[in-house]
């Protein structure tokens, strides 16, 4: 079971995604602001973070930057609508990005890929 943090301020969307993650056997927390997300990331060990590009208080790229600066180890899946964000996110060390519109099956298959990679790294 992987521990996943869903950083998304749209509560409905966050809930929908988290429900599906739990349904497929993961452990999912969700959080709606950048500040809280940073705190959660500091105090918990996550395997994967689903990070939205835009949050009410912070930009998703800034969160990614500070997380990687503090040598965070969780895989990061960046969710975005804009092309330029994709490139920036990859440069900042995101492990994968998904551009909108994405379907749930697409999201879950990427999640599974990233979590199994994380598990393999852990055991090695």
């Amino acid at each position: 079971m992987s521990k996943i943090l869903v950083v998304e301020d749209d509560e409905f969307l966050a809930e929908t995604i988290a429900d599906c993650l739990i349904f497929t056997g993961h452990n999912a927390d969700r959080i709606g602001t950048g500040t809280e997300a940073c705190q959660m990331l500091k105090s918990n060990q996550y395997d994967l973070v689903l990070l939205d590009s835009m949050l009410p208080d912070m930009n998703g790229l800034d969160i990614l930057k500070s997380y990687k600066a503090e040598s965070g180890t969780a895989k990061v899946l960046f969710l975005t609508g804009a092309k330029k964000n994709e490139e920036a996110a990859m440069e900042l060390g995101a492990d994968y990005f998904l551009s909108k519109p994405f379907e749930i099956d697409e999201l879950l298959s990427v999640v599974n890929k990233l979590t199994s990679e994380a598990a393999a790294q852990k055991s090695s």
């Binding site: 969307l13 609508g81 379907e103 749930i104």
Partner: protein, 551 residues
């Protein structure tokens, strides 16, 4: 097969739609209160958030168009926060209003489908007009071949946006033709060109759908005799290898344009500019040619300018009502059967009654896009069928006298048209055929002449049956010399046909006159002049084609 997870997400669809509708109405409110010159930043941020969230969830519910509109709106909203050289943001705000309309339309439609128990992800019926590129098969020439015109020909076709394939003449078999549906053929004739003509004939006889597929022949030798023979063999255009390949591409485009169902013109009268532009872009996306006005006093001009096939009228237009406009439309002979659809919020019985009196349908706003498109398409289809039935002669399928004259009038008034010729044909001694063998035989002969016209004149002209045994054909893409040759072929072919009678097989003969439209000549004069030439043919002894002598 959809996954369990997708099913799980779909279970939340109604909630999503409800949430989105709230978000859209909040976004609309913000937009309406926004200061065009200097938008308040916190309001813009709320807009960005709303669009961002709509885009995020849209994909999960497989609403891809919806998601795209939301992404566009997010981007436009973001641009509101940026400084720019020209003051004010009215353009951006109008774009946002338009996008909100599109988003609302998509979500209304999704809601309707959800209520009906469907979870289709296809929000709009796919536009008809924006079909794929046309696929052209070049036969008998490879793009790598060391012939000087190979490269220019292929590049001209590709430049004209065709998908171009190539094939050897001997590979053009029914099996190969079934594999891919080609929209047009270019046959490069070997020398002598005989096999190419057979090939054209073969292609045409493959399937009924191929009978009208455009075929162009390019001959290396290119004597005039070849050209006429090619036309006879089923070519829609004949070029020499020395001709500019761009002309070949252009001719193909014209031919395909002719065979394509035309896109219909829709006139919209809606006094709310936002709704008008929403309808406009929506109908355009669905493959129609919309024309929208917001000021009903401009209706007369708009009607003349847009020449609509169908009208969509709002009822409450301020200074007048849509019903009054409908009455005005019905007074004009040209539009007295044109479909009219009322689109309005007025839902009282008295309005429905008025609507039924003057129009063909009455839709209540907000009408789901699918319903609107289906209504327009359905009305148009029946209207066109009726118009076609009225406009065509039952026996021969040629245009009726009235419809032919209408078409001829349009063609003569079209400034872009090239040189126009008219060929008038009349069966010789038709009265005697009727008298000796009965009217049934007369009909057979007339219908046979019509068949021969179809086979020889093909897409080069428009044919009308202008009298019992009289046909007129308008031609705009042949030279006079070519037309004379084709007319003679037609005459010979017809006179070879035999008709069985109790006293043995008989033949019929036909006379024809050709005249060119002279500058300053109106249609009636031209018609009379052609009739005169036809009379000359009759007087000189019948069974001949005569062309007008230019004095």
């Amino acid at each position: 097969m959809q996954s369990q997870q997708q099913a799980m997400v779909d279970g939340k669809r109604s909630k999503f739609i409800e949430l989105t509708q709230d978000r859209l109405s909040e976004a609309t409110q913000i937009l309406n209160n926004l200061n065009f010159a200097n938008p308040a930043i916190d309001q813009v941020n709320t807009l960005i958030k709303h669009f961002h969230q709509m885009a995020g969830a849209g994909g999960l519910f497989r609403l891809k168009d919806f998601c795209q509109h939301a992404l566009d709106a997010e981007e436009v909203s973001l641009s509101l926060t940026k400084k720019k050289s020209t003051p004010g943001y009215s353009e951006e705000i109008n774009r946002l209003k338009m996008l909100i309309l599109k988003l609302s339309a998509t979500i209304d439609n999704a809601k309707m489908l959800t209520n009906m128990g469907e979870q289709s992800s296809d929000e709009f019926p796919k536009p008809v007009a924006q079909q794929m590129q046309s696929r052209v098969l070049v036969v008998g020439l490879s793009r790598k071949e060391k012939v000087s015109y190979a490269t220019p020909l292929f590049s001209a076709l590709e430049k004209a946006d065709f998908l171009v394939d190539e094939m050897e003449g001997r590979d053009v078999t029914p099996q190969n033709l079934l594999k891919i549906k080609y929209d047009a053929f270019v046959i490069v004739c070997p020398d002598p060109p005989q096999p190419a003509y057979e090939l054209a004939r073969n292609i045409r006889s493959q399937r009924s759908s191929m009978a009208t597929v455009p075929i162009i022949l390019i001959s290396a030798g290119g004597t005039f005799k070849d050209k006429v023979q090619a036309i006879r063999g089923g070519g829609d255009g004949v070029f020499n290898s020395t001709d500019d390949p761009a002309l070949v591409a252009k001719r193909l485009k014209t031919l395909l344009e002719k065979s394509k169902p035309k896109s219909h013109r829709v006139l919209i009268v809606e006094d709310d500019p936002i709704q008008a532009s929403g309808l406009f872009s929506f109908l355009q996306d669905a493959g129609f040619q919309p024309h929208a006005i917001t000021d009903p006093t401009q209706f007369e001009d708009a009607l003349a300018e847009s020449q609509p096939d169908i009208l969509i009228l709002d009822v409450n237009l301020g200074v007048m009502t849509g019903f009054e406009l409908a009455k005005y439309v019905r007074q004009q002979e040209k539009y007295n059967t044109t479909p009219i659809i009322f689109l309005t919020t007025e839902n009282q019985l008295q309005f429905h009654v008025e609507g039924a009196k003057h129009g063909d349908d009455y839709l209540i706003k907000p009408a789901p896009p699918q319903l609107l498109v289906a209504t327009i398409a359905g009305k148009l289809e029946r209207y066109e069928t009726l118009k076609d039935m009225i406009g065509r002669d039952g026996l021969t399928g040629a245009l009726t006298h009235a419809e032919f004259m209408n078409t001829a009038k349009r063609m003569t008034e079209n400034e872009r048209a090239g040189v126009l010729y008219m060929l008038m044909l009349d069966i010789d001694d038709f009265g005697a055929i009727n008298e000796n063998y009965g009217y049934g035989m007369g009909e057979k002969v007339v219908s046979e002449l019509s068949n021969v016209i179809k086979e020889t004149v093909r897409s080069y002209g428009i044919t009308g049956r202008i009298g019992g045994d009289k046909f007129a054909i308008l031609v705009d893409s042949l030279t006079e010399y070519e037309l004379v040759q084709i007319s003679n072929l037609l005459k010979e072919e017809f006179e070879r046909r035999q008709f069985a009678t109790p006293s043995g097989p008989i033949n019929a003969t036909v006379s024809g006159g050709i005249s060119e439209l002279q500058p300053g000549m109106n249609l009636n004069k031209w018609f009379a002049a052609t009739r005169e030439v036809l009379n000359t043919a009759k007087n000189r002894g019948k069974s001949m084609i005569v062309k007008q002598e230019i004095k």
